[in-house]
């Protein structure tokens, strides 16, 4: 078992038993992650002329969407408030004009990601106190294991069987994934000093500004009309 797997089993297991709501949240987030994976692969379909690869990508997309549905259904069953149906944001992993090299690098990243998710899902399944959730993790994990092997085959085809190139791309994708995991983990920690600073500004500045803020919110229709009129006039004003 990897160190990461151990951490997941110990800390996630503990957190989910202490606060079951966190498991619901995690299931919902996994649904978003799976949906995102599907969408990233979908974006790649239009970039290749290879029909076999397009077919493979399409099937892979459908499986990721199916996993998203499994996770969201499990989350929905446990939820006490409306979960987010769709992911809040998506950053495209492949550019709209990607060339063959970029497509191969994308597949290396997908391959490494699938391997990582496969391992993680097994750890999450072991950590989960809920039978339903465990079943979903294992079901999705099994598919991801197959995707890990399939994407390696695709990568080999894309590099014309050049094993060194595959190894190099996979290694670079591994580091990119680690950097991303580290950056995600640090995100919350990084927010702490910002919030402390904002808290201080809010405490002092807010005390002074509260009254004038409340006055500004009492502006009349007439004042509002005059201000917006000026802004519209200023917009249409042609600079000399």
């Amino acid at each position: 078992m990897s160190f990461r797997g151990l951490l997941i089993r110990v800390f996630s297991g503990l957190a989910w038993r202490i606060r079951p709501k966190r498991l619901t949240q995690a299931l919902s987030e996994f649904s978003h992650i799976e949906k995102d994976s599907g969408a990233q692969l979908r974006a790649c379909i239009g970039l290749t002329d290879d029909n076999a690869l397009r077919g493979y990508l399409f099937q892979h997309v459908l499986e990721e969407y199916f996993h998203a549905e499994l996770f969201s259904t499990a989350a929905h069953k446990r939820a006490t408030q409306q979960p987010m149906l769709t992911i809040p944001n998506r950053v495209a992993m492949i550019s709209a004009d990607a060339d063959d090299q970029e497509i191969a690098e994308f597949f290396a990243y997908v391959h490494v990601g699938e391997a990582s998710v496969n391992r993680d899902f097994r750890s999450y399944a072991a950590a989960s106190p809920s039978k339903d959730a465990r079943r979903v993790f294992l079901r999705a994990g099994a598919d991801e294991g197959r995707h890990e092997a399939d994407t390696l085959d695709v990568l080999a085809t894309l590099t014309n069987g050049d094993k060194r190139a595959v190894k190099k791309m996979a290694s670079s994708a591994k580091w990119a994934l680690r950097r991303r995991q580290f950056s995600d983990a640090m995100h919350g920690i990084g927010k702490l000093p910002l919030h402390v600073m904002l808290g201080l500004v809010y405490a002092f500045f807010g005390l002074m500004a509260r009254r004038s803020a409340q006055t500004r919110l009492r502006f009349t229709d007439k004042q509002s009309t005059a201000i917006l009129s000026q802004q519209i006039d200023a917009f249409f004003e042609v600079p000399q």
Binding site: F58, F66, T73, Q82, R90, A92, R210, S229, F235, F236
Partner: protein
């Protein structure tokens, strides 16, 4: 002159392109990113806009952003500080938004396109809506009314707009200040009734038809419509300064009872076939919804009356998110003050980019510019070849694996597709399937701008068979039973089936209409419990292929009308590309998919 319109940062980010005064492309980012109401930078929509017009970023002469980010920031900051010391979370969110986005909008856009930030212009939010509504109306002068949640400091406006030899002139007559917003009022009740804000407003409107407005007086205590037609919120009931999910307080709950909890059932059915009786709480939710809709309708009508009085014009062009409320829009028509009421296909923030670009075009383009009429089909084109190229990759018996709904497995040779070179053959096959009770995904050409499916990305079915609509709700759309479907029909069918109001533009599905009782059976599956429907009257000149389909439906099924609903799964944006359509076809219980001339059908095991 090439003007790119851009909007992002809150919800429904979008991009639009105006070339020499004409709007040639408009699309929400969600269609490409597949994130519903995606607020992020619309890079994919911009790429598609440029690709459509064959332009490079360096060909862009000017960029219009749909609002003034600093002005908006000042309002958010003031709003959060007014709630000191209980509004830290809202303050922190505003401050982070400022640090990450508000100050850098022009620079971000310029960096993305590789152009000079000096060509990026901020257009006041309500001016963007006004320009969209006015140019969509295709007239020489109009009273333009915009009603929104909030844009910068303003919630609703009335503007007199006219075309002159010197260009388009905008004369603002009235602006109501934040927080006196009809949009925020409606959204607060949307959240109270357990629906998602900026998403579930249509559910509130649908639920309203099952109730009685017995809370009318209580709701009027929250939203006061003045004698001169403006509206004011009673802020004793709301809390807009903190970042709470429910922007209401204890006093609000005292008046209306506990909010509807998540997962609490709503047994109402738009088809009138509910098997359970609603409990007291469910009746309360429906009655609150009905009261809110009643007061909203009255407020919209009063503000329109003010617009008429202030401008003295005969045409009303109406924009902003509240313009999607088709029940209030029907009341506007019944009011009969204006000879004509025009609402664009995307009056809300999704149309902000197009509106901003049109407003900037009014400023920068020559006054003599010629404008092409703004139609609804402003998105990317569907590419049937891309779908056909991957059809052989999946073995038909595996298709059922990809949905939790597990439709009946297909026969071994159950997935069939062919290209039909004769458009009449496409129509004949489509109608045969629909007439036999099938569910057809209909993908044709460019996709629609805005939330309504108008025959570009639609699911079509018999309008006279409730069992077909029930299968659609349960096996494809996963849709709550209280939400009705809409219908597309020819002008002749509309005149036979509906009570049409004079002056109404029924081409864009923006207005509800009462169904004539003697013909209700023709449209039973697309009719709400209150005997109304949201019709799209299809023009033979604007949409000849879709019109021909409707005429064929008349020959096959007795009336030129079809149930028409958006081609999307639950929680997903409207399908854009052929591949997205194919993915939905694989995952749901749709029977056939037509992409331009490509006809794909499933044949199931007996």
């Amino acid at each position: 002159m090439n003007i790119l319109g851009v909007s992002y940062g809150y919800h429904d980010a979008s991009a639009a392109l105006v070339v020499d005064g004409s709007l040639v492309f408009a699309s929400a980012e969600e269609r490409h990113s597949r994130v519903k109401h995606d607020p992020s930078f619309p890079s994919s929509a911009i790429d598609q806009a440029l690709k459509h017009a064959g332009l490079k970023p360096s060909d862009i002469d000017a960029v219009a952003f749909h609002e003034d980010p600093i002005n908006k920031l000042s309002r958010s900051m003031v709003s959060s500080l007014s709630g000191w010391p209980f509004s830290f979370s809202s303050f922190a969110a505003t401050a982070q938004e400022a640090i990450q986005n508000s100050f850098w909008v022009a620079a971000d856009i310029a960096t993305h396109l590789g152009i000079d930030s000096k060509v990026v212009h901020s257009v006041p939010h309500h001016l963007s809506h006004t320009a969209m509504a006015f140019h969509g109306a295709q007239c020489s002068a109009a009273a333009v009314m915009t009603i929104d949640a909030v844009g910068e400091w303003t919630c609703s406006t009335i503007t007199k707009v006219k075309k002159t030899p010197k260009g388009t002139q905008y004369q603002l007559c009235h602006a109501s200040p934040f927080p006196h917003s009809l949009g925020l009022f409606y959204s607060a009740f949307t959240a109270f009734l357990g629906f998602r804000v900026n998403h579930g407003e249509c559910s509130l409107m649908a639920l309203a038809s099952f109730g009685e407005p017995r809370f009318k007086d209580e709701v009027e205590a929250l939203l006061h419509v003045t004698k001169d037609g403006t509206h004011q919120l009673n802020l004793d009931y709301f809390d807009f300064s903190s970042a709470k999910n429910l922007p209401i307080n204890a006093r609000f709950i005292q008046s209306f009872g506990a909010p509807r909890p998540f997962k609490s059932p709503l047994v109402f059915s738009a088809f009138g076939d509910a098997t359970d009786t609603p409990c007291e709480d469910q009746r309360r939710y429906a009655d609150v919804a009905s009261s809110v809709q009643y007061v909203t309708t009255a407020a919209v009508a009063a503000y329109a009356a003010k617009a008429h009085k202030e401008t003295g014009l005969k045409t009303l062009a109406y924009g902003g998110g509240v313009a999607l409320n088709c029940v209030a829009n029907a009341a506007l028509l019944r009011q009969g003050r204006f000879e004509r009421v025009s609402i664009p296909t995307d009056p809300g923030d999704g149309g902000g980019a197009a509106g901003a670009a049109l407003a900037l075009s009014d400023k920068l383009d020559a006054p003599s510019k010629t404008q092409v009429a703004i139609g609804p089909f402003l998105g990317s084109i569907a590419d049937a070849d891309s779908a056909e190229s991957i059809l052989g990759a999946l073995s038909p018996e595996k298709w059922h694996r990809f949905s939790l709904l597990s439709p009946q497995p297909l026969a071994a040779d159950g997935l069939k597709w062919e290209r039909l070179s004769d458009p009449a053959e496409v129509i004949a096959r489509a109608i045969a399937l629909i007439a036999s009770g099938g569910l057809l995904a209909w993908v044709q050409g460019r996709f629609e701008s805005g939330p309504r499916a108008l025959g570009g990305r639609s699911i079509l079915a018999r309008a006279d068979d409730i069992s077909v609509a029930q299968r659609l709700s349960k096996r494809v759309k996963l849709r709550a039973g209280f939400r009705p479907y809409a219908a597309s029909m020819t002008q002749g069918a509309a005149e036979r089936l509906l009570f049409l109001e004079p002056g109404g533009d029924y081409r864009k599905m923006q207005t509800a209409a009462k169904v004539r009782p003697e013909h209700a059976h023709h449209i039973a599956a697309a009719m709400h419990i209150d005997q109304t429907t949201r019709p799209q009257v299809v023009s033979p000149t604007e949409q000849p292929h879709f019109h021909a389909l409707l005429v064929a439906s008349g020959k096959a099924m007795g009336e030129e009308v079809l149930l028409n609903t958006s081609l999307n799964e639950q929680g997903e944006p409207l399908v854009a590309s052929a591949i997205d359509a194919l993915a939905m076809f694989a995952r749901t219980d749709l029977d056939a998919l037509v992409i331009n001339d490509l006809f794909i059908s499933k044949e199931r095991n007996a």
